[in-house]
Amino acid sequence: MAKKIAVDPITRIEGHLRIEAQIEGGKITDAWSSSTAFRGIETILKGRDPRDAHHFVQRFCGVCTTVHSMASIRAVEDALKIQIPDNARLIRNIIMGIQNVQDHVIHFYHLHALDWVDIVSALSADPKKTAQIAQSISDYPKSSATYFKGIQDRVKAFVGTGRLGPFANAYWGHSAYKLPPEANLMAVAHYLEALEWQKDVIRIHAILGSKNPHPQTFLVGGMAIPVDPDSQNAINADKIALITKLLKNARAFVEQVYIPDLLAVAPAYLDWGGIGDSGGNYLCYGDYPMDNSPGTGSHYFPRGVIMGKDLANVMEMDETKITEDVTRSWYSNSDGNDGGRHPYDGETNPNYTGPKPPYDFLDTDGKYSWVKSPRYMGEPMEVGPLARVLVAYASGNQDAKATVDFVLNKLGVGAGALFSTLGRTAARGVDCLMLAQKCELWVQQLADNMGRGILEVHNGEKWDPSTWPKEAQGFGYHEAPRGALGHWIRIENGAIKNYQAVVPSTWNAGPRDAAGKMGPYESALIGTPVADETQPLEILRTIHSFDPCLACAVHVLDGRGNEIIKVKAL
């Protein structure tokens, strides 16, 4: 008999996501992804100064901070035909690059690891054996038995208080946890190390952007952070040296801890290389311009579209083929047609038709989410590190090819395993490593420019709104940590006429469309085994592999009140 469960809140994500799933015979047979929060920032933007938009939209999300600012200033620059100085390109690349690296590490250790790692099991580990494992996979210096014993003692003391705080009520001891105690202890140690590391490396954002989260030096036309080797109030040799040092620390952690851990954990979960297929369509806008030429030709991660897992045919991405559908989302378009609309003509008119809170289940036959359903040529697309790495791999990017082949080889699996929960998590590591190894180049190039007296950071020719055409429109994109991010802006008489953002988690977390086609989360959940429907750990694994971010776009829900789980027979 089929049962319907709801998981809400889905934790260890950004924002409010709810998953309702139908389970039959120990497997998920149907799924609904719902975002349960709406703020209306696109509406708030109307009539405001387009140069201010990046400050507003950056607040879409404080986890993927920076990314909406990037897409926004690029949208305005596209509308007003502004070419940014080379220094601004490099500073943006460094800020985007380290954001991606830091965010991926936080995701792996703090948002995703507990789906695979049983903290309680770590208490019974032999620290000497943990040290042997650690030393066999990496030359990371913190690997002695004494070190791991210290970590274990700290965790024991914490657990011994009986007050587990954020680690209480989890699925510890669940049959789906497969790692030996010693590997669990290593992962717990690195969970704590990563917590320290992340706050250190992101100081790069403070140096170049004033603070993190929400750096404040983005600017339409360039950047507001000055560079000048002869000033103590600008990026000078000292600051370049500090950024370089922090980047080396960042890269060392990725190379010596994150990637070895990923490769050590994955073999215990190779079955997840066959679970979590989102449907096989991937979209990547491309990013990280390697020179200041117009267009996207120089991007380190190339732009492209893959349909039906066909890696032999990477198609050109055409943004005019993007639409958003609100048939099953809590919005209604003014002309009564909730089907696909290009974002330039997009509307955001809330129309909540769901149950009045408090509720147990959504009406999943009607509208059921605050997330819209983006489509490319009418098809749902997965975006994110997997899409980015697949497009780069299939386009012949040498770094992507070498890194992906290394990982596949190490795990002893074929490329087919990439289209999965495991593949998504592995691709995030590949993506992280590629960027961790690239950022230092951009710092060198920035220093080189400065040394040659090139100090421009902002193109102010079109700063004054009186220089703008009466009407303009632009598309701004960014490959955010979670994937393809697009902002579309229409400017009229110096003010924002319309603003629409189609963000990575909108692509991935969107509900069904007018044609009934599922969004990627929903498709990926179909067929996922659930050993114990009162402890749907497996749902978390697949959903977390996408790294959901719902303030940008959605909670897995499981009822309220005293009952262990709300289950209804269908």
Partner: protein, 374 residues
């Protein structure tokens, strides 16, 4: 820890001494043993851990914290993770018992909710509530729900029974960006949504983690919340105008202004007033505490202050790149110093209209509530 885990492991039982202590507090030994047993089981620990848990519960006095996010962006949680004195790891493991925080907690769904309800029930009037994000009053609460219930219902229950509530960031303090005109969802602050709650506002977009840890350490050290200004902000962090502590103030006084981004004045750290800086109207300790372990802050990095710690700054401080006399509400040229007074008064009126100031004055008189310093 004072106890000896190895000893407890060996013995696997709860000592007579501890049982007598709990009995002296009115807890039956059978109930206490049952609690220890359930706790041991729920942690998936061997029964031999029971004695250790009993000993540690005895020694543990970390205040429970329930961290809720509503219409937020998680930026304040991320800021918390950047805390340095003490670090987020120390706060989570050693200083506080963070019993609910969706972004970091291992449990999901109803297991997560159960952890929250347990703390509310067991520590009624004693836990700290932390709220990130505004609370929407529109659409019967459907603009933000968690586990099927509205942000408003959750906030009323959790904040209403807390020893104190800390509003982190400008959204929970004052409504923030969701409340910016035309406020599509009817977003309000915690003080507005839960009249009567004792709320400390730590605005900023996001807040500075150092101010949160300082507020928590203040609470742990003195057992009460710090003294506040009329917007409910602690004076230790929001008592002075940015302009008065600004490292570029000398250039303002000398009439040295950056005229464009990247020009010679901008590169030499001249005053950003003409590029739209809102420092003269903003009360916050950014210039002295700075961000990310004291690395930098917006004006140091070359971009004007956007006034993010002030009520309704998304409307009162925009357009961000226009210099102060031209922002709404100011038709005439004036010196930056006079303007500061003017805008502060204007925001006070706007704020008073929402009734938040009055809400702050009441509700902190009961025994279980935390008193504010005068």
């Amino acid at each position: 820890m004072m106890h000896d885990p190895e000893k407890s492991l060996r013995e696997g039982s709860v000592s007579e001494e501890i049982l007598q202590q709990w009995e002296a507090r009115g807890i039956k030994r059978r109930d206490f043993l049952k609690f220890c047993s359930v706790m041991t089981a729920s942690l998936a620990l061997p029964a031999s851990f029971m004695g250790q848990i009993a000993e540690a519960i005895e020694a543990d006095n970390r205040p429970p914290v329930i961290w809720m996010e509503f219409q937020g962006c998680t930026g304040d949680s991320e800021a918390f993770l950047r805390a340095n004195q003490p670090t987020a790891a120390e706060l989570i493991l050693d200083y506080l018992s963070v019993d609910y925080h969706e972004t970091i907690m291992a449990a999901a769904g109803h297991h997560a909710e159960a952890a929250k309800h347990k703390t509310v029930d067991e520590y009624k009037g004693k836990y700290i509530a932390i709220v990130e994000g505004s609370i929407p009053m529109g659409a019967d609460g459907a603009y933000c729900t968690v586990a099927g219930d509205s942000a408003l219902n959750i906030a009323r229950k959790v904040c209403g029974n807390a020893a104190a509530t800390i509003a982190v960031g400008s959204c929970s303090s004052y409504g923030g960006i969701p409340a910016a005109a035309p406020n599509p969802t009817g977003a309000v602050s915690v003080s507005e949504a839960v009249p009567g709650a004792t709320v400390l506002n730590l605005p900023g977009c996001p807040l500075n983690a150092e101010n949160l840890t300082a507020a928590i350490v203040h609470f742990l050290t003195f057992g009460k919340l710090p003294a506040t200004d009329r917007f409910g902000r602690p004076k230790f962090a929001y008592g002075k105008r940015i302009h008065d502590n600004c490292e570029r103030r000398g250039h303002f006084d000398a009439g040295q202004y950056a005229e464009g981004f990247g020009d010679a004045g901008h590169r030499q750290g001249w005053c950003l007033y003409k590029l739209g800086c809102k420092g003269p109207e903003t009360f916050h300790n950014c210039p002295t505490v700075r961000y990310n372990e004291g690395t930098s802050w917006p004006i140091q990095a070359g971009h004007g202050c956007i006034g993010c710690s002030e009520p309704q700054f998304w409307d009162t401080m925009t357009p961000f790149y226009r210099r102060l006399p031209q922002v709404p509400g100011f038709g005439i040229e004036a010196t930056a110093d006079k303007l500061g007074l003017g805008l502060a008064a204007a925001t006070a009126v706007a704020f008073g209209a929402h009734g938040v100031a009055s809400a702050l004055r009441k509700g902190d008189e009961t025994d279980t509530k935390v008193k504010k310093e005068d």
